[in-house]
Symmetry: C2
Subunit: 471 residues, 2 copies
């Protein structure tokens, strides 16, 4: 059983640290973007160095006080807020935001955990390279949080998830020892993959303090197009065609449903619609091409072949950076329109690519048979990852559906599980999906996860109650 982060503990800890490392928790540390959970904490610790993090973790281990690691606070499943249990200490990495090194020769950047994703992207760009991780909250979300949640986003199709973009870690383990693992090697088979294990563990096995991140060359040509497709099945076939013709040069392939465009027209934010008639299904495609390719030619030839096969009905190609931004703005405004409409329930799911068309048909039929709702599905079709949200019919509000919410969620997740999908593609488990993980997770894997947690954090001080239920 954990002890609360009380005055006695804080006094002991303060004596081990420079002044102004511990503070009362400002309200922002106790809130989260969806307003579903209200956190609590005895204090927030703001260490300046890995050594200070180690001092804090050692003291917490000795006193059996829970620690909640805190990055940018943008997580959507409650991994960063602890609403109940003995008062924890929040461990914010915000002061550790240095970019320790950018090496073009080694194609890496070493960032401290508190650096925002955007600051990393900018440092990479300043060195003529890209760090390809890209997601809506990148201005606030931190590298430590991105790695702890194995963040996905829009460029996974080409570059992989956060786990694939990280070559090495520095971390403080649950007993307060520091793992100095900031390697920068593409191949290193010297034992168990502790790096991959801490990535995606949501702070429950240790605290990531710094990471070696992979840099990639900037493609010579960036090409963005919005293509109207007759169906999700056609979108999926278009993706296969583009991948085959372009050998891995497709950076993003995002599905947009007509419902999303209706929402934008209904509640904003205001964005320019590139088509006279609102398409039922469209895809935002981004290509990153090498110097020796003629980008317009490559896209024209792909478009022609796709049109001949009936996979594309219409399309616009951005012919300036401004237009490219406008097309992306359309895609990226949909979550805000969704928020303004007010979802009854939001789902971050993934499926085998081939199951997506059937899933979209079946889930809509099943949900609308159960309740008077509208569905919006959009997102990273290239990764089989869709954000499928359930909305009230016009004239009704989400509160009207309070009694049905649980059943609708169950229906959605049962269908996802039956089709071999995931109930959390990129947002993680946090505290919001612990029960869902218990329901849908493989029992042997869950037992292994519990054994690993017990082995690496025997006192259960690291982000208590996230990913796995409190024992």
């Amino acid at each position: 059983m954990l002890n609360p982060c009380d005055t006695a503990f804080l006094e002991t800890l303060a004596a081990l640290l420079p002044p102004d490392t511990l503070r009362p928790p400002a309200p922002r540390y106790l809130e989260e973007p969806r307003g579903l959970w209200q956190g609590q904490a005895g204090a927030v610790a703001l260490p300046r160095s890995t050594e200070e993090v180690a001092v804090i973790v050692r003291a917490a281990a000795q006193a059996r006080v829970g620690l909640v690691p805190y990055g940018g606070g943008t997580a959507l499943v409650g991994g960063q807020v602890m609403p109940d249990g003995p008062l924890p200490l929040i461990l914010s990495l915000e002061r550790m935001n240095r970019l320790r090194e950018v090496s073009v020769e080694d194609a890496v950047l070493v960032a401290e955990a508190g650096a925002t994703l955007q600051s990393v992207q900018e440092a990479a760009a300043a060195a003529g390279r890209i760090f390809p991780l890209s997601l809506a909250s990148e201005g606030t979300a931190t590298i430590g949080g991105n790695l702890s949640t194995n963040a996905g986003g829009t460029a996974v199709l080409r570059y992989g998830n956060a786990r694939e973009l990280c070559l090495g870690l520095e971390a403080v383990l649950a007993d307060g020892t520091i793992w100095h693992g900031l390697k920068r090697l593409r191949k290193d088979n010297t034992g168990y993959d502790l790096r991959g294990l801490l990535i995606g563990a949501e702070g429950t096995l240790g605290v990531i303090t710094a990471a070696t991140l992979r840099l990639f060359p900037q493609p010579a040509h960036r090409l963005v197009a919005l293509l109207v497709v007759p169906s999700p099945k056609a979108a999926q076939e278009l993706l296969a065609l583009a991948e085959a013709r372009l050998s891995g040069l497709v950076t993003a392939f995002e599905l947009i449903r007509g419902t999303g465009l209706d929402f934008l027209a209904e509640v904003g934010p205001e964005v320019r619609m590139p088509f006279a008639e609102r398409p039922d299904w469209s895809v935002l495609v981004e290509l990153g091409l090498p110097q020796a390719m003629e980008p317009e030619l490559a896209l024209a030839s792909l478009y022609e072949e796709a049109a001949d096969a009936g996979l594309v009905l219409d399309g616009v190609i951005a012919n300036s950076e401004t237009q490219a931004h406008e097309l992306w703005a359309l895609r990226e405004s949909i979550p805000e329109a969704n928020r303004r409409i007010g979802a009854i329930s939001s789902h971050d799911i993934s499926l085998p690519l081939s199951s997506i068309p059937a899933f979209l048909t079946e889930v809509e039929a099943a949900l609308t048979a159960q309740a008077a709702v509208r569905i919006n599905a959009f997102g990273h079709l290239g990764d089989g990852n869709l954000h499928v949200n359930i909305f009230p019919n016009p004239g009704r509000s989400r509160q009207d559906y309070a009694a049905q919410r649980g059943d609708l969620q169950r229906l959605m997740h049962d269908l996802v599980a039956a089709m071999g999908g995931s109930i959390s593609a990129e947002h993680g488990i946090g505290r919001g999906k612990v029960v869902e993980l218990e329901r849908y997770g493989d029992p042997a894997r869950l037992a292994a996860m519990r054994a690993i947690k017990q082995a690496l954090d025997p006192q259960g001080i690291m982000n208590p109650g996230a990913v796995l239920r409190l024992p």
Copy 2:
């Protein structure tokens, strides 16, 4: 303490399994390619299904008998042979070699652990796709072994290691429970990365029985060239240039040292030398380009730019599949020539890309100052992974250096460690590098590895003594 795989255990086990599942161990199961270790075993088990593997593991767990998982037997560090300790049971997956499914739509192939890498490559090709893992022993090595050792090879630069090529696993854990984890999702953030942990664990945490492997489109054009470079530094700059100009379309980038070509001329195997004068340093480059690219133009333009910058001195471009094979044969014959010469010591190391030129100079100076030896360094420069082997001077044999071998190895590994490299880039730890891992590994990481081993295999029955010393 483990118990031996004795007659009583084998009788109990036989009663639980169909006839002919257990056999006396044929000599091939007790040998390994380098002849450094001689294995021992009470029997070999040849299960036909995952359920039979589970029966065997449960029985071994109950009797505390060690299990040595066995794939193609091609490992170079002794992970597949147990030379001492209580007699183990060898668990060979050779009967489980089915390809359960090839899905072009989902871009995956589901293979049982005993399928050879080559059979997987061929099934992918038959479906018009590629499975990009590629290594010298692919005709014999199995997918289970490839994954258990996180195999690397020649296409990691573009496609990643075995870990990045696998989306899901089926495995029997050390208590005999089956983990049904054959997902086929690009994004699935539902808890700890057990998949990544079992991959590279060399059979010490469980037995992989099947895997979902990623398929990729076949590039429209394959282009192979052998380029003469003035130095390793120039080779490294040429790689950076090629990556920048070709945005990730470089499939392989292999360094060849003049010494290797000398060895080929001296002892064979006979291969066609494409240059009149034997170059000191050359690189084998393979590009996989999309349809819309003119391959000869792309390479010519790259060559011109590189030549202007003084990075390339000469080159040949394969203009047929036969010539491409010939150039690859040159590269792939070097290990055989090395064997014929007889290395004093072989090293599979990786380094930060920027350190490679200095390492090659320093290691040669240090080794030749210590003993009258020759060095051959070759391999996957694109991944920072070199095979650096130490050879006797002409007229002497490896036996003459028996007394110096340990010191030379230490010198090499000390330098690798000092430069932030890895003492095992792609071959793993097995039993041959357990002591080296203890010497060079980070203490916090080693402690975490031991805790994980204890948590997932508390009796220590899974591949005892591999990766981690017997407790």
